[in-house]
Structures are given as C-alpha cells and as structure tokens.
Subunit: 199 residues, 4 copies
C-alpha cells in the first residue's frame, strides 16, 4: 500500500441537503485523519448520461473523468440513499460505467441512509453488485435510520450537522478508518506464496 | 379486473439491439393474445433526468407522463439487462420516480437478460425493490443466459429474432400469460371478508 | 377460496420464550378473527432430522406429517428469528423438506424478529427461497427490531405479552388479515381467460 | 499469516454422493498444493442438533468441537447445495452455532452446486450471512450448474470424479488458491497505521 492511500467517496444522492453526502464527509474526514488523500465524487458536478453500452465513453459526458477517479482510488466509499428498498438509480448509473478495471483489487466500504427504518436490502444489493466487479467489500458497513433525526445543527460541524449519537458517529468514522487500514489487500505482502516471490 | 387488462412493459436497456427489449415484446405479444392492451415503455423515447427528490415532477422532463403510464397499468413487466450482477441504473432511475401510487396493487412480472451466465441476483434485487413499493411480484420470472445465443435471425419474427429454444420462449410467453391472468389480484373478488363487504 | 381458509404459522425458533412465536400467535389470532382456521406449527413438537434428499420421507421422523400440514394450508405464515443476518437453520431445514407440492399457489406471509436492529436481509432471503418453490409472498411483511423491547407483561395478553406500540401490533395483525384476504389468489375467479374457460 | 495456513471446508450436504463435497475436496487439494493444512468438516460425522440459543453448547452434541474447528481456521470454504434458491438448512444450522468469535478476521470462500441452473441467490445469501458475523468473503466465488453433468468418471480423480470442463475446474481450484493467498487479511502488516503502532 502506498504510505498515503487515496480514498474516493461517491454520493448516490443529488439532493442539496443530502444526509448521505454529510455522512460520507465524516467518513472522508476520518480517513484523512489516518493519513489518506480524500476526494468526494459529487454526482451534481458531473455529466453522466444514462449508461448505454453502445456509446463510446468519450461521447458520454464526463464518463472518462469519473472512471479515472474510481480507477485510481486505493479504496472507495459508496454512499446511497435508500430508494424503494435499494440503492439509487443515480449511484447505479455511475456504477454501470465502471467495471473490473475500476474495482478489481479495490477496497470498498458501504453506507446507506434511510428516511425510514430499513437499509439492510440496500446495503446487500450494493455488496452484491460490487462483488460482481470483484471489489473487496469491507465487512464493516453503516446504515443510518431516520436520517434526519440523526443530526443536530452545529455551525462548527461538517455541513453544519453534528451526530446526535456518538456511537453512530463512531460507526461512520470506523468506515473511514477501515478503508485506510485495508486500502491495500495485497497478497504480495501478506501471503506466503507472494512472500517467496518477492524474495 | 377489467375485461381487457392493460399491461405495460418497461425496458431497462437503451441499446439499439437490446435483447431485453426483444424479449419484452414477446411477453407483450403473449399478453395481447390473452386479450390485454399492451404498451412498451421504451426509455429511449422519454427524457428522465437523474431522480432528485428536491425537484418537482413537472420540471423533470417526462416524469409525469412516465408515472401516469405505470400508474394506469393493471400489470407491469420489468425487464433489465444484468449490469454487474444487478439491474441497470436506467431502470432504477425510472423506478425511483415511482412509488406506492404507481405500484400498490399492481401485478409485476420480472425478466432479466445476461450477457454471461448469471441473472439470479438481478431478479432478486428487482423483486425486493418492487416489494418496497408494495407491488405484487409474480412467482414466475424469466432469466436469459448468454442472451445473444438465445435468438436466431428470422425476418418474420419479432425484431427479426426467433428463440432457438422453444422451452425458453414458452417461459417468456408464460410471463405474459400470467400478467394477464393475475392482472387483478383483488381481495374484493376472492376473499370472504370482502365478499361480505360488497353485499 | 374456501369460506373458511386454513392458515398455518411456522415458527423458526425453538426457544421457550421465543418472541417470534408470540408474534405469530398474534398473526393467527388476527386471522381467526377473520374466520380462518389456524394452526401453529411448533418445531419443538416435531422430529425433523437434518434434511437428506437420499432418505425417504417415511424414514425422516415427522416429515410426512409436517409436509401434509403445509400442503393443506391455504396460506402460510413463516416467522423466523434473525440469526447472523438471515433466517434460522431450523426454519430452513423444515423448508428444505417442502417443495412445489407444498407451496405452489400458496399465499405466504413473512415475519422476522431481531434481537438487534436489522431484519431486512432475513426477510429478503425468506422471500427469495419461497419464490423458489413458487409461493405467493405477500408484499406486506413484518420485522420486529429489538424484539424484547417490543412487549410488556400483561397476564391477559397472548403469551402474557402485550405489544408496547399499537402501530407495530397493527402491522402484525395486518399480516393475519392479509393472509385471509389473499388466501386464495385464484385466476379461475379473477381472470378473463378463466372466466371464459368456466363458462 | 502463519507460514502454513489452515483451511477448513464445510460441506452443507449430507448426501453420500454429494457433488458439493467433491468440489470442496478439489478446493482443499488446491489449497494444500499452496502449502495449507486442510480439513474437511463433514456434517455426517458430527452430531449437531437444531440450534437453540437457550441450551449451553456443552449439551449440544458436538457443538464445541465444530466451533473450535471453525474458530481455529485461518480461512474457511463454505459449500452448499442449492435448496429452493438458497443454502441448505444443514449448513445454516452449523452457521447458527458460530459467531464473531469464529468468523471475525476469517477469510471465507463460497461455493454452491445447483441441480438445475441457478446458484446466484444461494451465494448471495451466504455472502450476506457471513458478513453478519464479520467474515471476509472473497470476491471470487464458484457456482456449479447442473452439477451431475460437470463430472465424468475417473478412478484416479478425487471421489472418482473428474471435471469435464477444465475452465470450471480452474475456477474451483482458484478458490483454494485464493483462500491461501488471502488467509490472513492483516492490517498489522499492510496498513500505515498499524505499521506505526507496532514500531
């Protein structure tokens, strides 16, 4: 692993006041505290038409730039609002552009925010689709229930929002820490086979 | 149920040569043979920006028209290509616009087409997200593996493509038949409680 | 549908103080109030060895009796504790004995009780495995979080346990009502094709 | 990681002629070729009553021994037949006995064998339930379709069964290789934070 891993967080909501985006900023701050270089990939800032495999990336708005950001990351945090018990179409559309080149050997952390109570299916669907392109999904994951109740106003906090529950904040920050810690799941370091190969 | 149920098929691929779209046309033809009025909702023909809950539908391209089509259907066929082991972002983006008003008490049939071999996760994710808005998902569902191998050229066939395997064609057509048969899952007809209520 | 549908509830926990079992009794009571004949299938009372497809049912403890109970039900309520984010092995072992003969055209309602907070994956896994044998799973489903906090002692209540939250109780009872209401999802009543066929 | 990692394979079928068991033996042989110590945990050889959280492990047949085997493994291969679109009750019953003590920081590889065509949901359900106890599930996984067609008789082969398709055999063996390679996903080796902490 590089001494200073790069972590990209992708926010699957384009709402101005998205709680997903706020939570991801907490993830990135925790990762930065561990020495990571961090980037928020905010879908409001990119032009990503609905994915069409027939069309070359160069004619698909900012597809090339977005794919480069994901591909060059050591680890990726995927955050999504819960829409109808699954991830957002916005997040999946970005994901459809990416593939093995972007995700293989990339460590991935998952976060979902629900307006109501259930985020389990959403995190499961994300886990399965990331596995489909061979990303390494961390066991630790975070769901926020009743997201608007989880924060209170604080002008000094990220996005002016402080977590009400320090345990939940710790879970969110743990995601940032784990992304750094496992940014490189690298058999050339940790396996006996590779150990021999690098002698 | 109306004597002539209306069935809408939604194609989650915008490729010109989409096998998903061809298969859905077979579904609709089978439904029409049972007396249904059928409509293909082709996402290439509608302007649906990435869903943003902050924005009113009237400012979201063709959102109002698309939602009306889904809401007025007695039954809906959802077809999607398998992208990274799940449904397409295009399909989910449409789905994000819809909700209980569109799906509650609507019968839904699922179809997925895979370039390779696996469609199971995709159908599962669709089933769960449709349940999230209380659609009635038929037990019968259809997956096409190695979709390009499932058809052979035939100028007289739908989209010029004939199914190679009559059993697979029968499974596809069964989806159309079942959508008609169960277009109205209506407790006011079949339950004792409602029977009393309508006396 | 018979005028008096039969509903069987299967409890996937064998704990003496199972909250799953208590909740299922509320489901059955609600179904009985709608006129159903109800049965609790309590796995503590049956001998069901680990399923082995090589062995004939007649040599598998009470397999034949358990299968008969499921097969003859008009509707089935499946209740499970959440063990490691999925249904219990006990419930799945019973389910492995059953098949299309037991489930095809049977209406199924799902309930899961979690010691902690998450029941979403559990309900999803149940929904998918029941679909695998073509059961009709109701859109309405019930999850109980932190199950031990959901009840308070009441000697007059079922199992001496009263729901703290009337909304949750209503959701549980709704499952019983819906099982009766949709006990027979019967195309021969509600579809135009069958209507013609029975003329 | 130890120089000689220990790999345990758990077979979720108790059929005499289980293809799942044969495939797991191929996984273990591939792991042994990479220097692992391997053990097949064959559920036919252990007494595991249906899991009851009320009962102490010491009174639950071989529960203590089975848990010890899983807990001491550096990596675990879970293999299951597809029963009704999900894992077997037998496998889940064993899994219900285990928990964080057995799985946290354990690398897990998944394999499913289907009599028919679909194994996707089964592998997904396994992946989610292993995540529930914080196992590290490898992105690489293996499904066998129409399992009885995948082998041909060969007296010199494992269980007298040779794979017909060398690509499928390679996928199975890759699971064994990856279990060794990633047997220790160990932040104390690979992360900057831990590197500092162990100075």
């Amino acid at each position: 692993m590089s001494q200073c891993p790069s972590i990209v967080a992708i926010c699957g909501s384009i709402r101005e006041e998205s709680y997903t985006r706020t939570a991801l900023k907490y993830v990135l701050e925790a990762a930065a505290d561990e020495g990571a270089e961090t980037t928020l990939l905010d879908l409001r800032e990119y032009d990503l038409p609905v994915f069409d495999p027939d069309v070359d990336d160069s004619e698909q708005g900012d597809a090339i730039e977005v794919k480069r950001l994901v591909r060059e990351a050591d680890a990726v945090a995927l955050g999504t609002p819960v829409y109808h018990g699954s991830y957002s179409g916005a997040l999946k559309n970005l994901h459809d552009y990416c593939g093995f080149d972007e995700y293989e050997d990339t460590t991935v952390g998952l976060l979902a925010t629900a307006g109501g109570g259930s985020y389990g299916s959403t995190l499961d669907h994300l886990r399965i689709t990331v596995r489909g392109v061979h990303g390494w999904v961390l066991p630790h994951q975070v769901g926020l229930r009743a997201a608007s109740d989880q924060f209170e106003a604080d002008p000094d906090a990220i996005d002016g929002r402080r977590f009400c529950d320090p345990d939940l904040q710790a879970r969110v920050e743990q995601l940032g820490h784990s992304l750094v810690e496992y940014a490189s799941i690298d058999p050339s370091v940790s396996s006996s086979r590779s150990a021999t190969a690098t002698d």
